[in-house]
Symmetry: C2
Subunit: 291 residues, 2 copies
Amino acid sequence: MLHRIGRDKVVYDMSPEHKPVLEVSPGDTVIVETEDCFCHKIVSESQTVGGDFDFTHVNPATGPIAVKGATPGDTIVVSIESIELDDQGVVETCPAWGPVKNVSKSCVSEIVKIQGNYASFMGEQIEIKPMIGVIGNSPADKSIPCTTPGRHGGNLDTRDIVAGSRVFLPVFVKGGNLSLGDVHARMGDGEVGGSGIEVRANVKLTVDIDKMPVDSPTVENEEAFYLLFSAKTLEEASHGAVKRAIEFISDWKSIPREKAYMLTSICCDLMISQVVNPLVTVRVRVPKVIL
Amino acid sequence: MLHRIGRDKVVYDMSPEHKPVLEVSPGDTVIVETEDCFCHKIVSESQTVGGDFDFTHVNPATGPIAVKGATPGDTIVVSIESIELDDQGVVETCPAWGPVKNVSKSCVSEIVKIQGNYASFMGEQIEIKPMIGVIGNSPADKSIPCTTPGRHGGNLDTRDIVAGSRVFLPVFVKGGNLSLGDVHARMGDGEVGGSGIEVRANVKLTVDIDKMPVDSPTVENEEAFYLLFSAKTLEEASHGAVKRAIEFISDWKSIPREKAYMLTSICCDLMISQVVNPLVTVRVRVPKVIL
């Protein structure tokens, strides 16, 4: 069955207090209209997030969507079929954003026109690689702002979350209560300046339930699994993601933990997703060829 | 002109005190025989780095090679033509190594046979991707152990340093005094378990001098430049590498720093090289298509 949710149906946190705006069955397809991370308040270069910009209303996520039959301990599997972009996006940076401070003296915006497979940045054509920045389920017993990543998902800013990939998210409440937004026409690993090409989009996805539990968000594509982990520092996040990889490989292949660690060391990549959110996110890429 | 250095000509630190074992002219080719990082002391699985293993003699680098005419402020450009591996390597992990501690109860070794394009790990065939772990010039006025990376190069453990790539290293002393070793048949980003597939090799390379200074090691291949930075934490290293990327892109394209930061954010990847040496190394990948 095909459903559609408008981009007016947004939340700014993922929370057990939000009632679902849509209930779907496993196997159903949904077209999710997503708002851009700045709530479409930056549509010309004279507008920025400087001054009295309302930072309590950023990273809106469309939803929540309840999946019938999903119960805590399950996994919601989101198969992303397509990401269709609006024809204009924006790149933003501010003096306090990213690993290098005060590169700009004030917040600045660059408007980017998008046509076909290209975005025009300062007059140059850049190939687009559309991806979803925010995607997650409701946490069990607290609200987490959509700006923040965690075990529930949230602001993962992971550039492998693209059309053709599958996202595995742990379920903490009945129905899971999935929401998503913050699409980027393109973003590099790290999102170091604090934004990608932020853009409205229509995301077509299919949802399903997997009874196998997953500890934290996991992404799969044809070539690999990506095991994500978010924490305060890159060191802590690396610890969490590498631990996940060791356990995943050891369990999958039925080999001792130390052999799985060796295989991680020689064949898997420890990768940075983003370093600009309240928690940072890293991932380990596990190529399927070694499984 | 073609030269050759045997793997008995090694140093354990990069130091202005070491006399060159070979002097070459710009444009000359050298076949450098490299020792494995454990000095070939682990050739069966009953041998490990546990017990009374001599950690003052690890990561030997063959050299130093002086390049005629190189003076402080210059850059030595190493074009790697081929990396020919021995037929046996070793993977090692120890309880104190990597982001996840005590995965193994003691140090363990896995011997890996190498044939053609494959290494046999626990009986499974893994495609090899030979790379150089240690490569660097002499520092100006101190000795840095070959275990440690830095502005001079050293234990960079960066898996883009492969045949077909070029490595740019700052010159701090007359002749540069290049040395290299620690080849891996394969290593994942992070080298999280503490080793790759460690193996002896014969590296064929051509050296040249570039009068354009480079701040820290840089790697180039057909598609991209990689700007490396090593520091105590991943956060500090990220700051250094991203700062380099902003300046590189801004200078190359003659665009303001904040526009270069935006371009880094949307098109460049902040990547982890290794997290297991005395300093960690990250790199920013700058795709040539945006330059």
